[in-house]
């Protein structure tokens, strides 16, 4: 189906269907005359893909001026922002002196100087008002004795450019993300935002460098829908599910970045994937850094507080990449709790010194996780932890207004935006600081929403010369067809991918391992061509959904591995045994990776270092 031709018959049809349309939907009609195909076509001003913190904040802003629809593969309130625990960083200075400039500097240093510094300054400055906005909209932050928003310590956040840890993380017990998601969803309820829950995006309508909307599958029916709009914003979150041990939800499969990558959009700094040092052993469930912020200590099998040897000033509150490396180093030296030097060994997070009252009041969720999944009480028992794949620093390249970059030379797509974890501004550089993910969502989700709403005022509708809907229909139909027997099982490919990524593109990396990983991932992508959907029904075909998600993960895994293989230095979360040092002379630059069928084309883009000169990173 060609949407341009479709648009020629639109005006007459529009008039007819406007009479019947439901509130919140401009119109819907079925198109079957020319092509014998039926797609449900909807028209909006703006589309927001993903209903976590970034998507909801953007929708609230865009919705003020533009007819906006929000899409989510799960019900909006199930989004993974809700799993964020410890806090949102902002230099309010409520409990001790603090300044946005210090926050920005910590962000830059924490990101091993791969952060775009002016963007980090925006992040830190606008975080302050964003936190007040959330509070004013009802977010129940914990309070100081004076009734102000309380703040606590978090990894890598310091006073006066690294002097000592500072209390910067505003928090609502250890369910800060849950409360942000709830508050923003409440506001969307108040402002009557239109949601399409349980819609899976499968493609974008690209006409050259202009995005005219999306193609999505309605999970409840299996129907393919086309949504056209003047602007589309991706806020689909992370893709930790490409790793075996992850804190991420099943839904975190990088659908936005993958769909765009297949349409030629470059992805930035994909080699930088954060491993959080304290996931529950074997399960990956996150144990918040706030446990260490409240006084928790990492210990090896002899009970030693080993961080004293790795980060003498910040100790257990050093940035996550450093703490994860320290944990793996201890394990490799036989200092893990089992002491067998195997990659799945673990260390202890000792929260017994925190005390029952603080654990109950400020860390109730993690206490509950320990009881439910480990059968232990952190008041009395040490928590077995190991690094867990947690956060993608890289993603869809954007400027500070969420506009998606076409290249490293200041060119942008029209009508295409991204925000949140799926985007790369870049404010996290090579390693994100704790709490800055939530800051990123609210600051850049809001900015993208504002810019998008302004863009729409002057933009023409471009329905594009896209065959995406027809292609999506054919692709999905193809997934059901008989293929070479025996057809590989999706679960086996997923398992192999997750193991490769965990073992070869993990906390420590080296050239030969990554070489092997890239080859193996290519083979898996070939095998994927023969995967067949085993569930032949249309309603809630979760098998189809998982097969579509697997394609996205495989594409992003390959891009990640190729980007990592080519970066011959160690920086932040990208730590190479064969190139152990940071190399600013050659590698102080962002990676831009373009997927071209089976290969990945890499180019590089300058880093904004206008505020602070890169220095060695010590804590």
């Amino acid at each position: 189906m060609c949407l341009q031709k479709a648009s020629q018959m639109r005006s007459a049809t529009l008039h007819r269907f406007l009479q019947k349309s439901e509130p919140g939907i401009n119109f819907i009609y079925k198109l079957s005359i020319f092509y014998g195909e039926v797609f449900l076509i909807h028209e909006f001003d703006a589309l927001v893909i993903g209903a976590g913190g970034a998507g909801l904040f953007a929708a609230l802003e865009a919705g003020k001026n533009a007819k906006t629809a929000v899409f989510s593969k799960v019900h909006a309130i199930r989004s993974h922002t809700g799993a964020a625990q410890g806090g949102i960083g902002a230099a309010l200075g409520n409990v001790e002196e603090d300044k946005p400039e210090w926050h920005a500097f910590d962000t830059v240093k924490g990101g091993d100087y791969l952060v775009d510094q002016a963007a980090a300054m925006i992040l830190a400055e606008e975080a302050v008002q964003a936190v007040y906005d959330l509070e004013n909209r009802g977010l129940p932050f914990n309070r100081t004795p004076e009734g102000l928003i309380d703040q606590r310590r978090f990894g890598g956040h310091t006073r006066n450019f690294g002097e000592s840890a500072v209390r910067r993380a505003c928090y609502a017990a250890d369910r800060t993300g849950h409360m942000i998601l709830q508050t923003l969803y409440q506001q969307c309820t108040k402002h009557d935002v239109t949601f399409y829950d349980e819609f899976q995006v499968v493609d974008v309508l690209m006409d050259g460098t202009t995005c005219g909307g999306i193609v999505a599958v309605e999970l409840a029916t299996g129907d393919i829908h086309v949504f056209t709009a003047k602007a589309t914003l991706f806020a689909t979150g992370g893709f930790g599910r490409m790793f075996k041990i992850t804190s991420n939800a099943y839904a975190n499969t990088g659908d936005g970045p993958a769909v765009l990558a297949r349409r030629g959009v470059p992805l930035e700094d994909m080699e930088f994937f954060q491993f959080h040092p304290t996931g529950i052993q074997g399960m990956g469930i996150l144990i918040s850094e706030a446990v260490r912020g409240e006084g928790g200590i990492l210990r090896n099998k002899t009970g030693e507080r080993f961080m004293e040897r790795y980060a003498p000033t910040l100790l257990d509150l050093a940035p996550r990449d450093m703490v994860s490396r320290a944990v793996i180093s201890e394990i490799k030296q036989g200092n893990g709790i089992r002491g067998d030097k195997k990659i799945d060994d673990y260390v202890h997070l000792d929260a017994t010194g925190i005390g029952r009252e603080t654990l109950n009041n400020k860390l109730p969720e993690i206490s509950s996780f320990c009881r439910t999944y480990l059968g232990i009480d952190p008041v009395d028992d040490k928590i077995p932890v190991q690094p867990t794949a947690h956060y993608a620093m890289g993603g869809i390249p954007t400027d500070v207004n969420g506009r998606v970059r076409r290249d490293g030379h200041g060119n942008f797509y029209n009508g295409l935006y991204a925000a949140g974890e799926c985007a790369c501004v870049s404010v996290h550089g090579a390693n994100r600081l704790g709490t800055n993910s939530l800051v990123d969502l609210v600051v850049f989700g809001r900015r993208a929403g504002i810019h998008l709403a302004d863009f729409i005022k002057h933009a023409d509708r471009n329905n594009g010369k896209s065959d995406a809907a027809e292609e999506a229909k054919n692709k999905i139909a193809g997934l059901f067809k008989n293929k070479k027997q025996p057809s590989p099982r999706g679960v086996d490919l997923t398992d192999k991918m997750q193991r490769i990524m965990m073992e070869d593109i993990g906390v420590y990396r080296n050239g030969p391992d990554m070489e092997r990983a890239v080859d193996a991932l290519r083979e898996l992508r070939k095998a994927y061509a023969n995967v067949r959907v085993g569930d032949t029904n249309k309603a809630f075909n979760t098998d189809l959904l998982e097969i579509l998600e697997l394609e996205n993960l495989l594409d992003l895994a390959l891009i990640t591995a190729e980007s990592a293989k080519n970066r011959k230095e160690s920086r932040g979360a990208h730590s190479r045994e064969d190139y152990p040092d940071r190399n600013d002379a050659q590698w102080l630059k962002h990676t831009l990776a373009c997927l071209e069928n089976d290969s990945v084309h890499l180019s590089y883009m300058d880093v904004d270092t206008s505020l602070w000169e890169p220095k060695a990173r010590k804590y």
Partner: protein
């Protein structure tokens, strides 16, 4: 250990009535039941359908009835519901909602009721300071229901729905309570309209099943009764 899962299934496209399917499998006592379901789905029966996402009890996707009680599959370990080798675990979709497929139920009626109580902070006064001042004591008054994840388990557990599907429901009243008791909120009157009706708070009969079965341990019945009390007092005083 060996376990037997009896799963209630329904496929609208088959023309067949809901039926029970038995799966025998092995699992570790400490496995999450969600993982057991995933394993069956991916290796035995790709058509088995259920919702899932965070897998650690914070997103609310996988509420279902396990051995006749409402639970989150990801927050239930095999050993919590199967004591001996060969134990039978029954799994059914939530009650009181139309079943769309297998363990997937319709969510729209729940969220329609949610919207009816204006579940957002209502306060048109500008903040005195940058943030609205609130003491820890004031905050603690409504802390408990803020952890609600809208998983709908309480709707399935509540016997009132057996007779009255129009009941506004436990989680919804708890949401209204959360805002009514927030010292920053001015929306009590706006919410009262939806609550003070025969199908609102007064339909609750204090069965305590919502509290007993809440995966988040929220004292739902207590907040319903406090809401009843506050509305009664309000009516007496006006």
């Amino acid at each position: 250990m060996r376990i037997i899962l009896k799963i209630k299934r329904y496929n609208p496209e088959s023309g067949r009535k809901p039926y029970e399917q038995v799966y025998e499998t092995s699992a570790n006592p400490t496995d999450r039941l969600l993982n057991v379901l995933m394993d069956i789905k991916q290796k035995t029966d790709l058509s088995l359908s259920f919702r899932k996402s965070c897998a650690h009890g914070v997103c609310g996707s996988d509420a279902m009835r396990i051995n006749g009680k409402e639970r989150l599959a990801c927050k239930t370990l095999v050993q919590d519901v199967a004591e001996t080798d060969g134990a039978i675990i029954t799994i059914e979709p939530l009650r009181h909602f139309p079943v769309l497929r297998d363990l997937i139920v319709q969510q729209s009626s729940f969220f329609d009721k949610y919207r009816s109580v204006k579940p957002f902070l209502i306060n048109e006064e500008p903040p005195q300071e940058k943030e609205r001042i609130q003491s820890s004591e004031q905050r603690s008054m409504f802390d408990d229901p803020t952890s609600c994840i809208l998983c709908q388990a309480c709707f399935s557990a509540c016997p009132v729905f057996d007779e009255n599907v129009r009941f506004i429901g436990p989680a919804i009243i708890a949401q209204a309570f959360r805002f009514n008791e927030d010292s920053r909120d001015r929306g009590f009157d706006a919410r009262r309209k939806a609550l003070d009706t025969p199908d609102g708070i007064w339909a609750c009969e204090n069965h305590f099943e919502c509290t007993r079965n809440c995966p988040r341990g929220i004292k739902v019945t207590k907040w319903i009764n406090q809401t009843k009390k506050r509305i009664s007092e309000h009516k007496e005083n006006n």
